[in-house]
């Protein structure tokens, strides 16, 4: 894959083994011994990737989710959809490049895609503000979703942001208000909504396009109430505790599936999505197709009722009948065990 030379420190053994393998493969004389060695190293490489990627620490997951080579919304627009017609602007202030919206085709489905865009090159990144959207981005997103609903098109939201932009203009133009309004409107939008966290799920900026009938995550994405750095800064009073914070916040796909926050985890190619955009895209496509098949055509009343109940269930607390009852009925309102234990829907 053509990409940056960005190398995560915990991936070093992988790169070292790949370099050895490359050197052998480049040898002009391929003796049986060399061919055997190549085969052995290839097997070893697979095992190594499995070992490293099978036991990522939460902070390492964050690093993978932020990897500059990781496929982003525009990559999926190219690889998953047959066509993409971008629709710009919030009809009020501007066209936020941190969120892309437009019509797309997936097989026979006409859909509205809404996705955060971080950008890959330096210039792209600065144009789309590294994926940190302003109020006009969220206003554009909800505007296009309403357009989709009017013409009975399902909505697909690809979430990949460090958060909503913290800045003077963003506050002046109502960052809090637009995010609140997005959730409010998405919860009753009369068309199917499928959300997938493809990289970073940064707090309110992610949730601002994250209320749907199905919410899934890629295996090495993260989704968190606050960035690990931000959490460390507030609770540990120092950013150096980001690894502990990442651990404590339970932000990985595995943890969130258990907590019932996401419905599914979409497995990534061995060694992470940044190693194979095409395979990742085909897995995502299969996943989206399954959900579209399931949700399109479902009566809207039922769809909205189920969407309401899905979010209604979230939260864990204790409830007792009051002081007259001696022992409080310690009934944590947890997502049903069988739901948490459900296997992932898509696993190629």
């Amino acid at each position: 894959m053509a990409g940056t030379s960005h190398r995560l420190s915990f991936e070093r053994p992988i790169y070292e083994l790949e370099a050895r393998l490359e050197k052998l493969e480049a040898k002009p004389q391929q003796t049986p011994e060399v061919r055997n060695e190549i085969r052995r190293l290839r097997r070893e490489l697979i095992e190594l990737k499995k070992k490293i990627y099978g036991h990522l620490k939460p902070w390492q997951t964050v690093e993978v989710a932020r990897h500059p080579d990781r496929p982003m919304t525009t990559d999926y627009l190219e690889l998953v959809f047959d066509e993409f017609i971008e629709l710009h602007g919030d009809k009020c202030f501007g066209d936020d490049r941190a969120i892309r919206t437009g019509w797309a085709k997936l097989d026979t489905y006409r859909v509205m895609v809404v996705g955060h865009q971080k950008g890959r090159t330096l210039q792209e990144r600065s144009t789309c503000n590294y994926g940190f959207a302003h109020p006009e981005g969220y206003r554009k997103a909800i505007g296009k979703m309403r357009l989709a609903a009017k013409f009975h098109m399902p909505v697909i939201c690809l979430i990949d942001t460090g958060g909503a932009h913290p800045g003077i203009g963003a506050e002046e133009r109502g960052q809090a208000q637009v995010i609140a309004n997005s959730m409010f409107e998405m919860s009753r939008l009369p068309t199917p909504i499928i959300c997938v966290v493809i990289g970073e799920g940064g707090s309110g900026g992610a949730l601002g396009i994250g209320v749907g009938d199905r919410v899934s995550m890629l295996e090495h994405a993260y989704y968190s109430v606050i960035s690990p750095e931000g959490c460390a800064g507030i609770l540990w009073k120092s950013h150096t505790f980001k690894e502990q914070a990442a651990e404590a916040l339970k932000m990985t796909s595995k943890d969130l599936l258990k907590l019932g926050v996401v419905d599914d985890v979409i497995r990534e190619p061995l060694g992470g999505a940044h190693r194979d955009h095409h395979r990742m895209a085909s897995k995502l496509k299969l996943h989206l197709r399954n959900y579209l098949r399931e949700l399109v055509g479902r009566p809207i009343d039922q769809l909205l009722q189920e969407r309401y109940e899905k979010f209604r269930r979230m939260g864990v607390f204790l409830e007792s009948a009051g002081p007259e009852q001696q022992a409080p009925a310690e009934q944590p309102q947890q997502p049903e065990a069988e739901k948490a234990a459900q296997p992932v829907a898509v696993d190629l």
């Binding site: 913290p166 506050e171 960052q175 409010f184 919860s187 707090s203 502990q244 404590a248 979230m314």
Partner: protein, 270 residues
């Protein structure tokens, strides 16, 4: 998310007003519902005191009093969340950061919620989200006007991780149903209303009131300063700033809050 350690009207006969730095006679400020007689600075008001100020005397009937927070993530930072909860409960006399129920405002029955910004910075975890959601649902069923007074420097509560963030969606979804059913929601913003609380129910009022000079916004001023590295303009993220930029209907002084709410209910025919 931001941090703030203001604890309301301090002990002692005299006190210094954070607004004008004047020394104020404590009894005088209390008589004025915790408002500085010199500069109109609005102090923090504990949730129970707020109920006494806004609802007709003796009419408050609490709902879902026995919802208690737990520690679903076994969250530990410098101390375990379960210990922090116990300490906050002992210190404030509250089970969590919100009180909800029903009561009368000038003889008009309402569904009422208030968050207390001193309980883990008034942040919203599962209990605050659940209590508010139930209140919205009950207001929908019983066709009551809904009043929520917000005070939260903390936004979504980090210690409950994503479960806290999801409360924003949960309450907002309940409010959308209330709205579709024709309900009237008056949201009152007090100092401070930030982060996930500002970015959910607090901003979704049909009518939004703010107390004067409250800090209201999405990102904390320190986060913004650290990100953009320039000085923030004077009066940034105050009630007056929000009024000027079109996000608040009216700035309402504490002494007028009750009558302003009653009048709004009458105008909306609720």
């Amino acid at each position: 998310m931001m941090k703030r350690a203001k604890r309301g009207v301090p002990e002692g006969l005299w006190m210094r007003c954070p607004g004008c730095q004047q020394t104020i006679f404590r009894k005088e400020a209390e008589k004025r519902l915790g408002v500085c007689p010199e500069c109109d600075y609005h102090w923090y008001v504990p949730a129970r005191e707020r109920i006494r100020q806004v609802l007709d005397e003796g009419t408050f009937e609490e709902w879902d009093e026995y919802l208690e927070p737990t520690d679903p993530l076994s969250f530990v930072d410098k101390k375990p969340y379960c210990e922090r909860l116990k300490e906050e409960q002992e210190r404030t006399g509250l089970r969590d950061a919100a009180l909800v129920g029903t009561g009368m405002i000038r003889a008009r029955r309402v569904a009422f919620g208030v968050t207390d910004s001193s309980f883990i910075m008034g942040s919203m975890g599962s209990v605050v989200g659940e209590k508010l959601t139930r209140t919205v649902e009950r207001a929908t069923e019983e066709q009551l006007p809904l009043i929520i007074i917000s005070g939260s420097g903390g936004g979504a509560r980090m210690h409950e991780g994503m479960l806290s963030l999801m409360q924003m969606a949960k309450v907002s979804a309940a409010l959308a149903r209330f709205d579709s059913a024709g309900g009237l929601f008056i949201s009152v913003l007090t100092n401070p209303t930030m982060g996930g609380v500002a970015a959910s129910f607090a901003s979704l009022g049909d009518v939004v009131f703010a107390e004067p000079k409250a800090l209201i916004g999405f990102a904390g001023p320190r986060t913004i300063k650290a990100t953009i590295r320039i000085e923030l303009p004077k009066g940034f993220q105050t009630s007056e700033f929000l009024l000027e930029h079109g996000f608040v209907d009216r700035i309402v002084c504490r002494r007028d809050l009750k009558s302003e709410i009653a009048r709004t209910i009458d105008y909306c025919g609720k």
